[in-house]
Amino acid sequence: MSEKVLEIKNLSVEYNTEIATIFAVNGLDMDLDAGETLGLVGETGAGKTTTAKAIMRILPEKVGEITSGNIVVDGKDVYAISEAEMCNIRGKVVSMVFQDPMSALNPIMTVGDQIKEVIRIHEKKLTKEQIDKKVDEMMELVGIPANRKVEYPHEFSGGMKQRIVIAIALACEPKLILADEPTTALDVTIQAQMLALIKDLQRRLGTAMLLITHDFGVVAQICEKVAVMYAGEIIEYGPVEKIFDHENLHPYTIGLFRSIPNLKVKTARLNAIDGMMPDPSVKLHGCHFAPRCKYASERCKADQKMIETEPGHFIRCCRFDKEQGGSANE
């Protein structure tokens, strides 16, 4: 059943503030099948979190706005439906896990109530006892003793809080879960547990997941497909095994892999991609990576389109354009 859970066509998002207008996302295309896990990778400021928020339609009021494209979640166009309908989707069809667990929970509501709240909204027909049982079930599912549901967020550690956030996200068995760097704020040991937990729940509940991260290790461990984002657009998309075998990739992806320090080799200086992220308040044309790309040429000025170098593996770089005799990997 490969019907699409998420389809994003040519999405552009802008933030308007007092100082300047930020072009966070510039023409993004993406889609996700049921039960599939897509890793969205990129430096900070590439527009990953903005994309997630756009999907959930929780961009900050009057500041963030969609200037082009549309998002279809489970067959419904998110920006065409009313707020009431959107509330039914949020938490039921698609839910989100935030990056910083420390402030993600309401400090003056007990943990149990915060889980109960999402269930009571979406499962109207359940009785009070059934809801309590469901809350206990979710707590046990994420590995927290149910009797601790009367305690408050400040009585839990970072890892435990993230487990509760996950419990909240998965309480109504959503079709799609957006995980915005769920493990970044946690230390490594907890990180492994959290990823195993998410993977296990995903398999059990058949939920699709959009995992936003800047950590390639996490992607390799958990995702089936990878999309590399740079300056608001996806510049490379393909199955994990294709991307991780390190050949004929987008120059930026190569730069990213090269900047991961190799433990075996003694290196004096870590190598990083030279140049700086483009200024988000400037509207970009042509290949956004051109100014930092070694192979930049005249043709890079034009808008690049996604080229399928091999089945399922797309790269937005004219050098891979077979018809025009581009040659990869000089």
Partner: protein
């Protein structure tokens, strides 16, 4: 309630008691520094030395200071709270007859200012940037800057003198019918609550704005919680936490402001009693009034501190 919490409350109650006892000592010592004594004022300018001597002895003003303090504390417990020379009766009797007016004023002003203040604060926070927000912030800024006595005078000028709908003096107790009672009380309550409404509005607005950017509001949105529930269940409850201390502080200031309001509207409450007693150097009465008001304020502080434990769990341990 866990044992730990009960112990914490008891410690807090003990602290308040110490504060009140300390206050009685401070007030009594300061009282001795005030020049002039009530007897000359009571007897008037043609009093003879014998008369003055007679009353000084009668009311025990010739006793050593510490003994006067002991008598005062004793009188606290036997219900007379000392004897007022200028009004010739026990202080407790006078305060009992006067406290009703002040408490009515302050409670109504308090209720009005909390409701209106928080409501304006929410409205301003929600349509932040719009015209409503500007108007409310201007008015609340101006409201804080307006001197209490000046507001009183303006209201008297407009409503009592020019339009004559409200009486500019005197307090008609509720027993005389709701209409006259309300007309008599509406001006003083407005004067008392005006600065507080502004302060509560500003504080609610700023703490609501703080809360809007918090992550747990984003989590709530992502749970599909409706906008109205987000505002009241999540935002407002968190915004009220810092508001509590401001509210109790305003309660204390309001008790203080009754001095001015009752003076302008000639209401027979504790405020005007204090002005008369200080003018006739009836220090016993003056200090007792301050003590009663200070006790009310300390109890209010105590209640809020205990409430904090329940409202904001973070302060429990």
């Amino acid at each position: 309630m866990k044992g730990k919490q009960v112990r914490k409350i008891l410690k807090r109650v003990l602290q308040s008691l110490i504060t009140i006892v300390l206050l009685t000592v401070i007030l009594f010592l300061l009282m001795q520094l005030i020049p002039g004594n009530p007897i000359i004022n009571f007897l008037g300018s043609n009093a003879t030395d014998e008369e003055i001597a007679y009353y000084t002895h009668l009311y025990g003003y010739d006793l050593p200071v510490w003994q006067q303090y002991v008598n005062w504390i004793k009188s606290m417990f036997d219900g007379t709270m000392g004897f007022s020379v200028s009004l010739q009766r026990n202080v407790s009797e006078i305060i009992f007859s006067r406290i009703g007016v002040t408490l009515t004023l302050v409670t109504w002003a308090f209720i009005v200012s909390v409701i209106l203040g928080v409501a304006f604060g929410i409205i301003a926070a929600l349509n932040r940037g719009k015209a409503v927000d500007t108007v409310i912030s201007i008015l609340s800024n101006a409201g804080i800057a307006m001197p209490v006595f000046w507001i009183g005078i303006i209201l008297i000028l407009i409503f009592a003198i020019r339009l004559g709908i409200c009486p500019s003096y005197g307090y008609t107790p509720i027993s005389k019918g709701l209409g006259p009672w309300f007309r008599g009380i509406v001006l003083p309550v407005t004067v008392l609550s005006f600065p507080s409404i502004s302060i509560f509005a500003r504080q609610t607005r700023s703490s609501m704005l703080d809360v809007i950017n918090q992550d747990y509001v984003m989590t709530a949105k992502s749970k599909g919680v409706k906008k109205r529930d987000i505002i009241f269940k999540h935002q407002l409850r968190n915004a009220l936490v810092p508001l509590l201390t401001i509210i109790v502080n305003r309660f204390a200031q309001m008790m203080g402001a009754t001095v001015l309001t009752e003076n302008i509207f000639t209401l027979p409450g504790m405020g005007s009693l204090m002005i008369n007693s200080i003018n006739s150097r009836d220090l016993q009465l003056f200090v007792d009034c301050i003590l009663v008001i200070a006790v009310f304020v300390t109890v209010a502080n105590l209640i809020v501190d205990i409430l904090y434990g329940f409202i904001d769990p973070r302060t429990k341990e």
